[in-house]
Symmetry: C2
Subunit: 130 residues, 2 copies
């Protein structure tokens, strides 16, 4: 099967800069952060408002795509298991899913919380929580 190209629609702006020390999941103390979107996709934001619960999809560009099994939560005490039964960033297609609340929308800037993705992480999509 051939591949497909994902094209970032924006980038995460966050006080978090080090994946090694960032929370592994949003509810584990992740901060509020900003999604800075490409002005070209602004029409796609129409209808997104503060208070909405959305799933942010990111491209975890620092992940290893060749790892198929890991110690969950990077803890050597956890037995190795296949990445499809973990939320490890390391996986064949390192797409991150982050459920957040929209705090504010100001043009191409979308403030959300909590977000564990580090500064500079490419953003691929926003979807409403069903």
């Amino acid at each position: 099967m051939s591949g497909y190209e994902v094209r970032p629609i924006g980038v995460v702006r966050s006080a978090l800069t080090d994946p090694a020390t960032a929370p592994k999941q949003g509810p584990e103390g992740a901060p509020e952060a900003e999604l800075l979107l490409d002005p070209a996709v602004l029409p796609a934001l129409d209808g997104t408002a503060p208070g909405d619960r959305v799933i942010v999809l990111t491209w975890l560009d620092r992940a290893r795509r060749d790892l198929l099994a890991v110690h969950p939560r990077d803890d050597p005490a956890n037995p190795v298991r296949g990445v499809f039964s973990t939320r490890s960033a390391d996986r064949p297609n390192p797409i991150g899913l982050h459920e957040v609340e929209v705090v504010a929308v100001d043009g191409p800037r979308v403030r959300v919380r909590p977000l564990e993705a580090v500064d500079g992480t490419p953003v691929l999509d926003l979807k409403p929580v069903l």
Copy 2:
């Protein structure tokens, strides 16, 4: 920003073949279906078992990537809104999220339900529901 290549890890095998008549979401009557994975990623399945709730990520290869606003649920009676506040398949990066239950795992074949993706849809990832 440059793009990234997603590489399918498998394909959906389903009785559903027509996106126009397929359910829009799994709980809307979607059938059981099979994920036929590439044998090369089998180690990533270690730890996935019947009864697990997982999120299947797909690449909606028939979607339009140039549409930024749509009538939700393809219903002209619904006012047009930005795709980021809809679950439309049409969006800049047409990645589908499908929450399913694992029914059976047999080598590279993973039976899941319910799945609204049509036959032939590329599969990108499986993640446990948190």
